[in-house]
C-alpha cells in the first residue's frame, strides 16, 4: 500500500541514504532507527511528501504521491518535530480546526472525547501557550484519535516530552490502529515497545560523498 522505490536523499553535501526501498501493507508497522543525523526525519518527510527525494518516488495505493497530494493527504496523519498547533488558540479550537481544514465537522463532544483519551480533559479551554511541552505534544497527538479517517500514520519521535503513562496510551493507540488495518511509520530514540510484528529499519548514514 505504501511503497518507497529506490529513494536517495542528499542534504547539503551529504548523502543520507541511497537505493532505499520499502513496502508496507495494511496492519504493518515500521520502526525507523538510527543515530542523530542518520536521516530518519528526512525519510519521514519524504514519505509524507514534504521533502522531494533526490531520486526515487513514494507510492500510495500504486500512484505517485506527488501526483495525488490531496487524496494522499486526506489519508495521512503526520506528527512531526513541530507540533503544528497554534499557541494562541485553545486546545479545543486547535483540534476542531484540524478537522475543519480537512473538510470535516468535529462536534464539540467528539473533540472532548478525543482529548480525554490523551488525558487532556481538564485543559480543553486553555490556550496552548500555557501548556507544558509534554501537554503540547499530547495536543498534537490528538490528531491520531480524532475521528479523522487517516489510514497512514507518520510519527516523528512521537514520545518526545511525554510522561510514561501517556507513552502507554500512545502505544495503545498504535496497536488499535494496526488492528484496524492501519499503517504506522515511526521513529523513536527510546526503547520501543511495539508489537512483535513491527519491522525495523536501521539507517546508518553514509560517509561524506
Amino acid at each position: 500500500m505504501l511503497q518507497a522505490i529506490d529513494l536517495e536523499c542528499v542534504r547539503g553535501e551529504r548523502c543520507l541514504f541511497q537505493g532505499l526501498g520499502l513496502e508496507l501493507s495494511p496492519g504493518q508497522c515500521l520502526h525507523i532507527a538510527g543515530d542523530n543525523g542518520a536521516g530518519k526525519t528526512s525519510l519521514l518527510r519524504i514519505l509524507a511528501g514534504l521533502l522531494t527525494p533526490t531520486r526515487g518516488q513514494v507510492r500510495w495505493k500504486g500512484s505517485d504521491i506527488t501526483r495525488t497530494r490531496e487524496e494522499y493527504g486526506s489519508e495521512l496523519a503526520f506528527v512531526g518535530h513541530l507540533n503544528g498547533i497554534k499557541d494562541d488558540l485553545t486546545v479545543l479550537e486547535n483540534v476542531r480546526f484540524e478537522a475543519a481544514v480537512r473538510g470535516l465537522v468535529l462536534p464539540e463532544g467528539q473533540a472532548r472525547e478525543a482529548l480525554a483519551r490523551l488525558g487532556l480533559e481538564d485543559f480543553e479551554d486553555v490556550a496552548v501557550r500555557y501548556l507544558s511541552q509534554g501537554q503540547k505534544r499530547r495536543v498534537a497527538l490528538t490528531r491520531l484519535c480524532a475521528p479523522v479517517p487517516a489510514r497512514l500514520w507518520i510519527l516523528d519521535e512521537p514520545f518526545n516530552a511525554l510522561d510514561a503513562r501517556t507513552v502507554e496510551r500512545v502505544y495503545a493507540l498504535v496497536e488499535q490502529h494496526l488492528a484496524a488495518d492501519g499503517i504506522v511509520v515511526l521513529t523513536a530514540h527510546q526503547k520501543v515497545d511495539l508489537p512483535s510484528s513491527a519491522r525495523r529499519l536501521d539507517l546508518f548514514g553514509w560517509p561524506l560523498a
Partner: protein
C-alpha cells in the same frame, strides 16, 4: 473545499483577534505615516490636496508590507503550515484563505480609514469616494503580491528587508493607477479607466499569485 477555506479564514481572524496588538500596530503605522507627511511638506491647502491621494497610497503600501511578516512566518515556525499542506486540500485553498484573512485585517480597515484621512487632506467629497473605491479595488492586489514575496523569503535570514525589495517594485502599477484615479476625479475627469485597471490588476494577481505562492511555500517547507 469551501469549508476548508472558511476554516482557514476563521482561524486567521481568530488569531488576529488574539494577537490584536500586531494588527493595531499596522494600522497605527499607516495613520502615523499619513499624519507625518503634512508636517514635512507644510500645511498649505493646495499642496495637501495635491499630495493627499499619493500619500495615502504610499502609506497603505508600506503598512501592507510590514504586515507581511505575520502572514506565513508564524505558521511556518510552529509547524501548522506543513500540517495545513498535509490536510488533503489543494494548497491554493489554504493560501487564498490566508490572503483573504490578511486583507480583512489590513486592506479593509485601511480602506475605511481613508475617509477621515481625506478630510484631513481636504480632498473633497468626490475624490474621497474615488479614493475609497480605488483602495477597495487595489489593496487586494497588495495582499496578493505581498504574499508572493512573503512566501519566497520564508525562513531566510534578513527576509524582512528582502521582501520589501521584492514586493515594492511589483506594486508600482497599483500605486500609479490608485493615485491617478483620485487625480482624475479631482481634475473633473472620469476615474473609470484607472479603477478598471486597478480591478484588473487585482483579478490578475488573484488568478496567478496563489500558484506561485503554493510553489514557493512547498520549497520553503523542504
Amino acid at each position: 473545499m469551501s469549508s476548508a477555506l472558511l476554516a482557514v479564514i476563521r482561524r486567521d481572524l481568530l488569531l488576529a483577534l488574539r494577537q490584536r496588538s500586531d494588527v493595531v500596530n499596522v494600522l497605527l503605522f499607516f495613520l502615523v505615516v499619513v499624519t507625518i507627511v503634512p508636517l514635512g511638506v507644510g500645511p498649505e491647502r493646495n499642496v495637501l490636496r495635491m499630495i493627499g491621494a499619493g500619500t495615502v497610497w504610499v502609506a497603505a503600501l508600506l503598512a501592507s508590507i510590514i504586515s507581511l511578516a505575520r502572514m506565513f512566518a508564524q505558521d511556518y515556525a510552529d509547524g501548522s503550515l506543513e500540517q495545513m499542506f498535509l490536510a488533503g486540500q489543494p494548497g491554493s485553498v489554504i493560501v487564498i484563505g490566508k490572503i483573504l484573512a490578511h486583507w480583512l485585517v489590513t486592506g479593509a480597515p485601511i480602506t475605511l480609514a481613508a475617509v477621515p484621512i481625506s478630510v484631513m487632506f481636504d480632498l473633497g467629497v468626490e475624490p474621497t469616494g474615488t479614493l475609497v473605491a480605488a483602495l477597495a479595488l487595489g489593496t487586494p492586489a497588495l495582499s496578493l503580491l505581498g504574499a508572493v514575496g512573503a512566501a519566497l523569503t520564508l525562513g531566510l535570514r534578513g527576509g524582512g528587508v528582502l521582501v520589501t525589495l521584492l514586493v515594492l517594485p511589483l506594486t508600482v502599477p497599483v500605486l500609479i493607477f490608485g493615485a491617478g484615479a483620485v487625480d482624475a476625479t479631482a481634475g473633473g475627469l472620469s476615474a473609470a479607466a484607472d479603477l478598471l485597471l486597478l480591478g484588473g490588476l487585482s483579478l490578475a494577481a488573484a488568478a496567478l499569485a496563489p500558484w506561485a505562492i503554493v510553489a514557493a511555500l512547498r520549497i520553503s517547507l523542504e
